[in-house]
Assembly symmetry: C2
Homo-oligomer: 222 residues x 2
C-alpha cells in the first residue's frame, strides 16, 4: 500500500510536468504563429489546447482520488493541494497561449502586431517562452534557482507590458483602433501568462522551503 | 468529533459565502466609482480587496486543515476541493473589480469610458453585479435556478463584450488610443469577472447534481 501511494504521488508530479511541457510547446508555437502571421500554426495551438485541458482534468481526478483513498497528511497533503492549484495555473497558461493564437487566426492574413511594437512583443514572447521552460525545469528538479529566474522574467514582462501602453499613448501611435485593441489584449495575455508562471514558482518554493512568500501574484493586473 | 466536523464544513461554507458577499460589494462599488469618476470610491474598492485576499487565504488554510484532520471522503471531500476552487475564482473576481477601480483612479478626473460606449458598459456592469449577487444566493441556497440565471447573464456579457470591440472597430470611433486601451481592458475585466462567476456556478451544480457540465468556462477569452 505504501509503495503504491508513493507511486501515485510520483505519477501526479510527472503528469504535472507533462502539462507544463505542453504549455511550453503551446507558447512557443503561439509566438512563431504570431510573428509569421501563420494561420495553420495558430490553428494547431488552438486545437492542441484541448489536450492540456484533458490532462488537467485527469490530473485533478487523480489528485482527488489520492485524497479520498490515501488521506495524505503533512507534506504529502500540501503537495497534493498545491498540485491541484498548479495544474489550474498551467491550464490557464495554455488558454492564454491559445488566445494569442486566436488573435493570429482572427487577423490573418494581416499581422496582429504593428511594426512599432514588434520588437517589444518579441521580447515579451521570448520571456514568456522562457518562463514556461523554467516552469518545466523547476517542476523536474525542484531547484529554486529556476524560480528566481521566473521572478526576474516576470519583472521584465511587467516592464514590457507597461512600455506597450506607453507606445499606444505616444503621439506617434498611428495604428487603427482595432489594432490598438489587439495589441492591448495580446500584451495582457502575455503578462497574465508569466504571472501564472510566477504563481507556480511560488507554490514550488513553498513546498520546498515550507515558507510562504509575501508576494502576491498579479498586484498590477488581473 | 463528528459534530465538530460538521461544524467545520458549515463554517467553510459560511466563509465562502462571506467572500462572495464582499465580491458583490466590490463590483457594485467599482461600478459606482467608474460611472461617477469617483476616485475615493475607487480607492475604497482597491483597499478593501485586501480583505477578500485575507479571507481567501484563511479559508484555504481551513480547507487544508479539514483535509488533514478529518480525511473527508465522498461528497464531503468533493465539497472541500470544490470550495478551494471556488474561493480562488471569487478571489479573482475581487481582483477584477479592483482592476476596474484602478482604471478609474488612473484616469481621474477624466472618465474611463467615453460617451459612445457608456450605455454598453452600464449594461455590462449591471450584469456583473447581478452575477455576483446570484453567486451569493446560489451559495446560500444551493438553488440551481441561480446558476441558470448566471449562465444567462454570462451570455449577455459575452455579447456586450463583442459589441464593445465592434464599436471600437467602427468608422466613427474617435477616442484616443489610450482610451481605446482602457475600454478594451475594462471590457475584458468584466467579461472575466462573469466567467469566474460561471465557473463557481458550474461547481455548485456539480456538487448538487453529481454531474459535470460539458461547458468549459472561457471558450472565447482568457
Amino acid at each position: 500500500m505504501r509503495e503504491l501511494y508513493r507511486a501515485d504521488l510520483e505519477r501526479l508530479g510527472r503528469d504535472l510536468t507533462e502539462i507544463a511541457r505542453l504549455v511550453h510547446r503551446a507558447v512557443m508555437d503561439a509566438q512563431a504563429a504570431l510573428e509569421a502571421a501563420d494561420v495553420h500554426g495558430a490553428e494547431r495551438v488552438i486545437s492542441e489546447d484541448a489536450r492540456i485541458d484533458q490532462l488537467q482534468e485527469s490530473l485533478d481526478e487523480q489528485a482527488v482520488r489520492i485524497l479520498a483513498l490515501q488521506a495524505p497528511v503533512a507534506t504529502d497533503l500540501r503537495t497534493v493541494v498545491a498540485t491541484l492549484r498548479m495544474s489550474s495555473s498551467l491550464e490557464r497558461m495554455g488558454d492564454l497561449a491559445r488566445h494569442v493564437a486566436q488573435l493570429t487566426r482572427l487577423r490573418y492574413p494581416e499581422h496582429v502586431i504593428p511594426e512599432p511594437v514588434r520588437t517589444v512583443f518579441t521580447a515579451m514572447c521570448d520571456a514568456a517562452v522562457e518562463v514556461a521552460e523554467e516552469v518545466v525545469l523547476l517542476l523536474e528538479t525542484q531547484d529554486l534557482a529556476h524560480g528566481d529566474r521566473i521572478d526576474a522574467l516576470n519583472e521584465d514582462v511587467n516592464a514590457l507590458h507597461v512600455s506597450v501602453f506607453r507606445a499606444i499613448a505616444a503621439p506617434d501611435w498611428s495604428a487603427t483602433p482595432a489594432t490598438t485593441t489587439d495589441v492591448t489584449l495580446a500584451s495582457r495575455y502575455l503578462e497574465r501568462f508569466t504571472d501564472h508562471g510566477l504563481s507556480v514558482a511560488a507554490k514550488v518554493r513553498y513546498l520546498v522551503t515550507g515558507e510562504w512568500a509575501t508576494h502576491r501574484p498579479d498586484a498590477t493586473g488581473s
